[in-house]
């Protein structure tokens, strides 16, 4: 860590990632910025294709290249400028200071290596442990995530999906990283296992003071463990603030749409209101606000002008042109005051 901002574990500034294919360019992530303090958890929320996973991979400099290109931006993890680091230094940070739990546990473990060896590998690389020490510690990790030590010598195909995900978590946590990226860690799991996995991440966060980026499209999970929320749409952050700000004082029409499409436990008779339409094609983003075609509040100006992310009070930021009008508010905001 480099002195000045001791408390800041991650700083992302103006990150833009494109996938440059032969015929078209997928604008996956567009000019996003956020930062994360020690022990803090940010939720990256948005539907499939909003650029959440690409953002996460960019933080590790693991965007598949080709076709992925980080067009602009600066990523600082624990004082290291990730985008300009030499590869060797980068490898010494990956898995040690920053690590990631991947979305699909079925495919993210190597089928031909024993589970314990896959956990021990990062310990051998980063902690300079001997093979036996690393092996021992890997078995401890396995136990921490709720799998008996005796199963360490088995291969991924002998594990259920939930267990594989827990192995993925053990791998990510083996070297007690300062920053953990959890990319939809529960999406592939049964509801019962989901709770276990979340508890596990929470526990480790409390114990080690790890900062977490929780990528999800499940607002329930966000409410449960996040301090900050960033809502992503078509590669942009459209609303960003503390959990309370985003959940109880929602500003962006898209965020409102997300909430409206959730079942309401207090009003079981109310109909779900899905957001009409689809997310725009990221190879061909509209000139103005990307959400405008689906937005019930959109005006003519929205179709032609890109909204900037602006601060509206406290840490709360929103990217919506309508807030130029002082008396504008969305319906949800009205209800909650």
């Amino acid at each position: 860590m480099n002195g000045v901002n001791d408390d800041i574990v991650l700083q992302v500034e103006d990150l833009t990632v494109y996938y440059e294919l032969e015929e078209e360019t997928v604008k996956a992530v567009n000019h996003i910025s956020f930062s994360l303090k020690r022990g803090e958890t940010i939720g990256l929320v948005g539907e499939t294709g909003a650029g959440k996973t690409t953002t996460a991979l960019a933080l590790l400099r693991l965007v598949p290249d080709p076709p992925g290109v980080i067009k602009s931006g600066k990523i600082t993890v624990c004082g290291n400028d990730m985008l300009s680091l030499p590869v060797q230094k980068l490898e010494s940070i990956r898995g040690k200071d920053i690590s990631m739990i991947f979305q699909d546990p079925m495919t993210s473990l190597n089928p031909v290596f024993k589970v314990v060896d896959q956990i021990a590998e990062s310990l051998e690389i980063h902690e300079k442990l001997s093979k036996t020490e690393a092996h021992e510690k890997a078995l401890d990790m396995l136990e921490t995530v709720g799998i008996s030590r005796s199963r360490g010598g088995e291969y991924p195909h002998q594990f259920s999906g939930g267990m594989k995900q827990r192995v993925g978590i053990a791998i990510a946590l083996a070297c007690s990283p300062q920053l953990l990226i959890a990319d939809e860690p529960t999406t592939a799991l049964d509801v019962t296992i989901q709770a276990q996995v979340l508890d596990l991440i929470k526990d480790l966060k409390d114990k080690n003071g790890t900062s977490v980026i929780m990528i999800t499209h499940d607002l329930g999970i966000v409410a449960e463990i996040c301090d900050q929320v960033a809502v992503m749409y078509a590669g942009h952050i459209v609303e960003h603030g503390s959990l309370d700000e985003v959940f109880n004082h929602t500003l962006h029409p898209y965020t409102e749409g997300l909430f409206n499409s959730l079942p309401n436990i207090n009003d079981r008779k109310s109909e779900l209101k899905p957001i009409p339409g689809l997310m725009p094609d990221p190879t061909n983003l509209p000139e103005g606000c990307a959400f405008a075609p689906r937005c019930e509040y959109a005006t003519e100006a929205c179709k032609t002008t890109q909204p900037e992310l602006r601060t509206v009070g406290g840490t709360h930021k929103v990217a919506c042109l309508r807030y130029d009008e002082t008396d504008f508010h969305i319906n949800r905001g009205k209800k909650h005051g």
Partner: protein
């Protein structure tokens, strides 16, 4: 797994029966017989008939075949019509030469193909990839005997560095091994490349990179082991094919191996020699393929698990189920 091996070995019997039958009958269909080769030019028709009787060639084909087979199952492969020597002795005299040449070619082929295949997979779609693939394709398109002759011209005749033929120490092995090895290289390089390409974008390699594993180890350890199954299949088939398949190269370099033995015996209609040699080659081929299949289990634990369930029956099944639900 033992049961599986046993089953495969038992299945070898019909294969060998079929092969021996085909070879024996096809040889009989070809015009002429051993007597035409053996008899001196001035031999009378009666002399020839007498020789046929001595060799047993005057009996009907089916009787001869059954006779041959009944000797064979008792471990007797008969004698060569030509030399009168036991077939087994002639074969076993040549086999080590062919095996030696085979393994040397394999070393050349694997030594070139794996690095080249991995290299081009890593640089998929670039000009480096294309150049590697053209090189590999050249290896396949250049006829073996022609390359052999050219190599011989250059290294034996012009430069005088290496002997042009015979089996006399390591130096005489180099040219034929390169000739066969480069021929095999093409298929193996392409297999390595495509198999690595399948693996290279897999999620688990991303996991390895995210752990901080260096790119070199990601490719050589994490990716290669997963890509190995098609690669060892090709290596196995090529190794099996070498014992009978290096006929041309063996002839060009006058290498005293099994391939030349078979061709020479064919020319002299030496049925027991040809049949015996081909049966041995087939057996070798099948055993190599069996070994390759067994090797799969050591490379991929999922295949090993299949053997375990097949063998272990019910108790093992239950154990697996319990584990999965745990």
């Amino acid at each position: 797994m033992y049961r599986y091996v046993l089953k495969r070995l038992v299945l070898l019997i019909p294969v060998l029966l079929g092969v021996s039958f085909l070879v024996y009958f096809i040889l009989d269909l070809a015009p002429g017989d051993a007597v035409d080769v053996l008899a001196p030019d001035d031999a009378t028709q009666e002399d020839r008939e007498r020789m046929r009787e001595e060799l047993g060639l005057n009996r009907p084909l089916v009787i001869r075949y059954l006779d041959y087979m009944s000797d064979l199952v008792r471990g007797d492969m008969g004698e060569s019509y030509l030399s009168g020597q036991p077939v087994w002795d002639s074969f076993i005299e040549k086999a080590p030469n062919t095996l030696l040449l085979g393994f040397a070619s394999l070393v050349v082929s694997v030594g070139l193909s794996l690095p080249l295949g991995i290299y081009s997979a890593n640089r998929h779609g670039t000009w480096k990839d294309n150049v590697s693939m053209v090189l590999a394709l050249l290896g396949l398109s250049i006829p073996n005997f022609w390359l052999g002759l050219l190599l011989m011209l250059l290294f034996a005749l012009r430069l005088g560095w290496l002997p042009s033929g015979g089996a006399d120490g390591f130096a005489s092995l180099i040219l034929p091994a390169i000739t066969i090895g480069t021929g095999m290289m093409a298929t193996l390089t392409r297999t390595t490349r495509s198999s690595m390409l399948d693996v290279i974008r897999q999620d688990y390699l991303r996991t390895a990179r995210a752990k901080g594993v260096s790119e070199r180890v990601v490719i050589r350890k994490h990716a290669l082991k997963n890509a190995l199954i098609p690669i060892i299949t090709i290596i196995g088939t090529q190794l099996g094919g070498i014992l009978g398949g290096a006929v041309l190269t063996e002839s060009v370099f006058s290498w005293p191996g099994v391939g030349r033995l078979i061709v020479d015996s064919l020319n002299s209609r030496d049925t027991p020699m040809v049949t015996g040699a081909i049966i041995m080659t087939t057996m070798f081929f099948s055993v190599v393929l069996l070994l390759v299949d067994l090797l799969y289990a050591f490379v991929d634990p999922r295949i090993k698990a299949q053997y375990a369930t097949k063998k272990g029956g019910k108790s093992n099944d239950n154990k697996q189920k319990q584990k999965a639900s745990a």
